[in-house]
Symmetry: C2
Subunit: 530 residues, 2 copies
């Protein structure tokens, strides 16, 4: 009912402008659905089988899993809660890495690599750290056939081992700031998992820095949350709200946690990146000291900050629609797909030659492009397939286009005829300019759409009743807050919402706490979250 149907293999051959793909049934080659874990039996796997993408409005979670399976972003691993990141999903992660690596180096950080096995005793050294992480640990107890004397933690995060090493490398103020980053896998024994969003093992980068003063550490923590914010807006087209976590939600071991919070398509919040001012918590626990300019021994001031493969999930859930994935051009592994269209054999050569030449033109201009020229699929099938894969632009080239020296270009984000423009010149400089322009338009329009969606789903509240009502409607509530941890936990218990952050952008004027009526310095944002 209401699902998306892709035209059958034979019926769509001549259609130039398929109806918008919404509310049809999507027929695709069998993909093992993400939501079932049993092995596909050899005997049935080679048949064409119907696959359905559940409409987003009907069941957001089922839609999410269907998109991941059909777009071949990821698959379940054999161990409960683990995930195989497939090439198309991994390419999005690579695009994130590529951007971040440049920014990290520009801001003075070097990549390096720490071992993933951490002596259990390290985790116990920082009191709130062990409290936060010990329920989630995976432990290696046997190595090389022997029971180990000290069990090893598979890193859930690296503050402890980083401090162990920093203590050996940092001697004087001349060794500071020490600013490093690592790209690594981390393991957290999560009970409720969800591909990309929360898995037993995930990929991330973790930055770790040590500074001579509290001010420098604070500046660094703020700088990095700013790098993440810019990335979210400019690359991922996700209008995150950046701010400070409440004490309850602060990272285990941090003095202050800064966060970027993104609103998903179901209006739940996703914590998409965090930057922690660790103060001297770890340096005191590990004795990480330096000799200052006056010859005095001081503990260093530290930060750590991370984004992970969770961000890929955030992109899916921010932009995707009933037709499937929708990728922001700047992170899309494939920005343009060319679908050549011919009926008769004598048309084929001309169409394919023109398609290749268009491909080369775009590729030379740095655009990520491919041709799908298989004749085992109809153009209509391909249209829907690449829409489902979220490719921002489609170029169609048929015999009439070849004779007129033009192409047809369709935008993924504007369905049907509205998003389709005929008669774009094939002339290289004109075409490249047009395509780049359109990619930028798609990029901006995704951000605009997500921003409008976000803003229409944040309600300003001034009392606990208003807050409860907003949350019950599935929205985010923004209201003045100066109450304590206990009241915050009460809100969570009663509404399911938590304080996502005290946003950096604050309304002016005097405020009264929505819970206590006392004067408040800041508004907080409350929402249900992943």
């Amino acid at each position: 009912m209401g699902a998306l149907r892709l035209p059958a293999l034979t019926s769509f051959f001549t259609v130039r402008s398929p109806a918008p793909a919404i509310k049809q049934r999507l027929r695709l080659p069998l993909r093992r659905p993400f939501s079932t874990a049993e092995k596909v039996v050899g005997a049935v796997v080679d048949k064409e089988k119907e696959r359905v993408i559940t409409p987003r409005s009907e069941d957001f979670n089922a839609w999410y899993l269907d998109v991941i399976a059909n777009a071949e972003l990821a698959d379940y691993g054999p161990v409960r809660g683990t995930m195989v990141i497939r090439p198309y999903g991994y390419a999005i992660w690579e695009a994130i890495q590529e951007y971040m690596n440049v920014k990290f180096k520009e801001t003075g950080h070097s990549n390096m690599y720490f071992p993933q096995f951490i002596p259990y005793s390290f985790i116990e050294k920082e009191a709130s750290h062990v409290e936060g992480f010990s329920p989630e640990l995976a432990l290696v107890t046997v190595g090389g056939g022997k029971e180990l004397e000290e069990k090893l933690v598979v890193r859930p995060t690296s503050e402890t081992i980083v401090n162990h090493m920093f203590t050996q490398w940092i001697h004087s103020y001349r060794d500071l700031p020490l600013m490093i980053n690592q790209w690594a896998n981390v393991t957290r024994w999560e009970m409720r998992t969800k591909p990309f969003i929360r898995t037993l093992e995930f990929l991330w980068q973790e930055g770790h820095t040590a500074h001579a003063t509290a001010e420098e550490a604070e500046e660094e923590a703020m700088q990095m949350i700013d790098v993440y914010t810019k990335f979210a807006y400019e690359q991922a087209a996700i209008p995150v709200i950046a701010g400070r976590k409440s004490r309850v939600e602060t990272f285990a071991g941090a003095s202050t946690t800064y966060t970027i919070e993104a609103m998903m398509g179901d209006r739940k919040a996703l914590q998409a990146g965090t930057s922690h001012n660790l103060g001297q918590n770890f340096s005191r626990a590990f004795g990480t000291q330096f000799t200052d300019e006056n010859g005095q021994r001081q503990h260093v001031w530290q930060t750590s900050w991370a984004i992970s493969t969770r961000f890929v999930g955030g992109i899916i859930m921010t932009h995707g629609d009933d037709a499937g994935l929708l990728l922001p051009p700047r992170l899309a592994p494939l920005q343009v797909v060319i679908v050549p269209i011919w009926k008769k054999d004598n048309e084929k050569t001309g169409v394919l030659t023109a398609s290749s030449s268009v491909k080369e033109t775009l590729q030379a201009a740095g655009i990520k492009v491919k041709i799908d020229d298989t004749d085992q699929r109809t153009p209509g099938w391909k249209f829907n397939f690449y829409e489902m894969k979220g490719v921002p632009l489609r170029i169609e080239i048929g015999p009439r286009d070849v004779s007129s020296g033009t192409v047809v270009i369709s935008r993924r984000d504007v369905p049907g005829k509205q998003g389709k423009v005929f008669g774009i010149s094939m002339e290289p400089s004109a075409l490249v300019a047009y395509v780049k322009d359109k990619l930028n338009e798609v990029q901006s329009s995704l951000l605009e759409r997500a921003t409008t969606f976000r803003d229409s789903n944040i309600v300003d509240v001034y009392s606990y009743n208003e807050l409860k009502e907003a949350i019950a409607q599935g929205k985010w509530a923004r209201g003045p807050w100066s109450a304590g941890d206990e009241e915050e936990l009460k809100v969570k218990e009663e509404t399911g919402a938590t304080i996502r952050c005290f946003p950096f952008e604050q309304p002016e004027g005097p405020k009264k706490c929505l819970m206590t009526g006392n004067s408040a310095d800041e508004v907080a944002i409350f929402a249900k979250s992943y």
Copy 2:
């Protein structure tokens, strides 16, 4: 005795051409030596202390560890046998990754990511695989505070989990070839470890492919060993010998293993990369089948291939000398260091301005360059420091250079005056051309030198006695071989040498097995190895 001494801080200020650094004592800020594991005590760490790089000829292993510690390539992790890869060492690995990633994609492979936790039962499915790997496994037995029902293996390699997934993704011949790669950490519980060469955890890439025919798999395995060979010669300047492993030395689970073998500075062999034709061994164990064009179910034919952070160790041990590290320009994180030299304050501005402008010129030309303009160190100290770090070229700029519009350029690989050229024009196009030229010269000369060294240390042998003599002299022995596994193991027991490979390049003409006197088709190379 005989160790390398770096000029004291104050004594070297005006010297333009320090004596070759050989056989002096190297004085550097305290670096925690790699070879001691105790924690540096806070109270003593801020002093300047003498550090010694053991001469290579005196104790190759001690030299290797000293270079790694002093050049800050790596450090010991807190868990026995683990290694922290520090920024300078990691940057070499990043240069390897950057090159390889392009080659892998050019040859049709996509990156992806498999979970590192593998159910123990998987490892047991392929008989020789479990035999090869079970002594080296790290096992996770506790997760989230609970004893696990099935213990998990921390991946030592991923053939098993890859096949588990391939079985679900491969249905028909249209899904083949399936060609993927992952960059990942792997864990092998090694008893005798050595930084970069053999550590409990290391970083690598592992390619995995599945094909419809035995021929395609063989072609792929050969293609990838060829990619590694080209990389070794052209980027790392290491004249590896590529060939086939003997049955005894074949990877656990492979039908054939191809290898590249490098001769280190102590003439021990290092297996620097391998490519395996897995035949149908894993596809039979995991039921990885496809329906061929005739509708018949067939097992896929597979390959896997890997290089690891071990390669960084290979680079150190191939090119390094008594002065420290010597990096091939194409993989050097820093290709050129600029050392500005001034005595009087009124000279400083001119020298620093010229240095900056030279830096910008080179940087704009894509050359990796930095200026060391600290005045806390003498030029002489810096000369030796960057020689120890293996930077291929050094540019000196003093007041006289500024007035003549020239610079002095020294090659790391040619010590002393011989490697030093005065009066190179600062004019950008001339300077860039000169520097690029010199970098290429260093690159070729490293390869040439290593090739000469290799060739003068391979002895053609025709009898077991000759083999024993060659090995006893520390050389590689190359001789005709058609004897069995038992004889091969006897050679190992009696000489310590193993068959490194049957090289692809074979002498022509009839041959007689050096051990049995029977006719032989091929020569094998025997050597002691890491």
